[in-house]
Symmetry: C2
Subunit: 291 residues, 2 copies
């Protein structure tokens, strides 16, 4: 984070106009962008979705870290004032590595939602569903324990991402039977809070809420993350005073498909999407490692 | 293909000892290697699984072609006598591009199985299941039409790859309900032949066979592909006279996980697996494009 007394690190009046950078393994991170745009309407957002190498959640920590560092290195070209890791898998596995390599504040999606969950759980257990890599990392369990949560229940839910990507309706019988299978052990514990630990899961929130029952409230990390971004900007006096921000999207695969499906995650039209090759991300990563 | 009268293109006695190269987006191609090893026990096989960028079947034709060309470029370093594209998606989308860029014979998994299916269908319809990209390419439909099949029924089955990767048993209720959903339209047509158009599907063959009924026989492309490799080697007098071949595996992610899961696809222990970075594949691709 920048020093409190030096809000304009670049020495010009335009530091507040620098963009908010956001990346994810694909489209899912747009659910986080949606919350950021709602909370911080004057900010310009630059988004990168690594659709050519999606999903991250089935890959090794080493590969996830490497890909996340490359994604970030590409976005650093836009001189962002904050770097948002919208991917739960990358936030769980790579946050330390990203923070070490980033000149701007890094905000992940795990810490903010875990703090909020601890508050909401009122001493009860907190449940978390996520990708294989997210759950295996133990990142949520550590953050929740640090926030004073005594009991954490976790369940990997690897089929949910491809199910959402396939576009199945939340009331499709297959969606319901897969969800029942993953949630069975969590249902029995009746946790007051369930964290949706993957950006794809908010699209299944209705079905998940029905299966968990009225005693469990679901937490979408997007909202807490947008709050954390707002707090980081406020602390550094870096809020953009503009009245309407812009959104610029890059995708490593198929920008047409990205633009077509983005609305489901973003809640509005995404506009033009620019293709960027993974070789360019890798080159950006090499460049960043050398400086 | 090499000229018939020049079986030893390199001019030495060792041309027959050059390896058979095989690549896939991940582990699935080992079902093809299994058939090749059974059919051609004296051959040395070099296998590359691109687990860091798996799956290919949800990506655009441009990205699939780029990845497949990079995979092949890496394997060309081993000076193979034949290049086997074990991935149905890459075979469907990228075969022309691979053939143009490869000095050795290229064998894909689509052509051989379609020829065999036409023979087996006896004038009846042929059904094909595969990834989104495979089915969208129309490669099977074209190959089957060219082989004289009058009616082709296709169905994309995107959840089957993550279901197999998750390690669910073929009699798991979720597996059965997903399969029923995908196969519904095909069941009604009662095709004499169903092509398993993805290397992961043979692991669900029992459940698929039960749902399709005894009137439909399933074709695993591995067997026809192994026959096509054998024919290409015989035609060029390149069979390896050795008594026992070797298998050497490379993976772009998590060689430990690759080695652990490989047995399910290969039917035996795979031995050591070597990691190779995707940046090395990309560099190999650039090198190949320049020569």
């Amino acid at each position: 984070m920048f020093a409190r007394d030096d809000p304009d690190r670049r020495g010009g009046p335009d530091a507040r106009r620098r963009p908010v950078a956001v990346f994810d393994s694909g489209l899912g991170g747009l659910t986080v962008v949606r919350r950021i745009l709602r909370r911080l309407g004057g900010e310009d957002v630059v988004y990168l979705g690594d659709s050519a190498r999606v999903p991250y959640g089935i890959k090794s920590p080493e590969t996830i870290r490497q890909f996340a560092l490359q994604d970030m290195a590409f976005l650093l070209r836009f001189d962002p004032k904050v770097m948002v890791v919208a991917c739960n898998t990358a936030s769980s596995v790579a946050l330390d590595a990203l923070e070490s390599a980033c000149p701007a504040t890094v905000v992940g999606v795990v810490g903010p939602v875990c703090a909020l969950a601890a508050e909401r759980a009122g001493g009860g257990p907190v449940a978390v569903i996520g990708t294989e890599a997210t759950i295996a990392s133990g990142a949520h369990a550590r953050a929740l324990a640090a926030a004073g949560v005594g009991e954490v229940l976790t369940a990997p839910a690897p089929l949910l991402v491809p199910i959402v990507e396939e576009g199945r309706a939340p009331d499709d019988p297959i969606v319901l039977s897969v969800l029942s299978d993953y949630l069975r052990a969590l249902q029995r514990a009746r946790p007051p809070v369930l964290i949706l630990g993957c950006t794809h899961y908010p699209l299944l929130a209705g079905a998940i809420a029905k299966l968990m029952g009225p005693g469990t409230s679901l937490l979408d990390p997007g909202e807490a993350t947008a709050d954390a971004v707002a707090a980081a900007l406020a602390e550094n006096r870096l809020q953009n005073p503009a009245r309407a921000g812009t959104l610029r999207c890059f995708s490593t695969d198929n920008p047409g498909r990205f633009a077509r499906l983005a609305g489901r995650f973003l809640g509005r039209d995404v506009g033009d999407v620019t293709w960027v090759g993974t070789d360019e991300l890798i080159a950006a990563g090499h460049g960043a490692a050398e400086t």
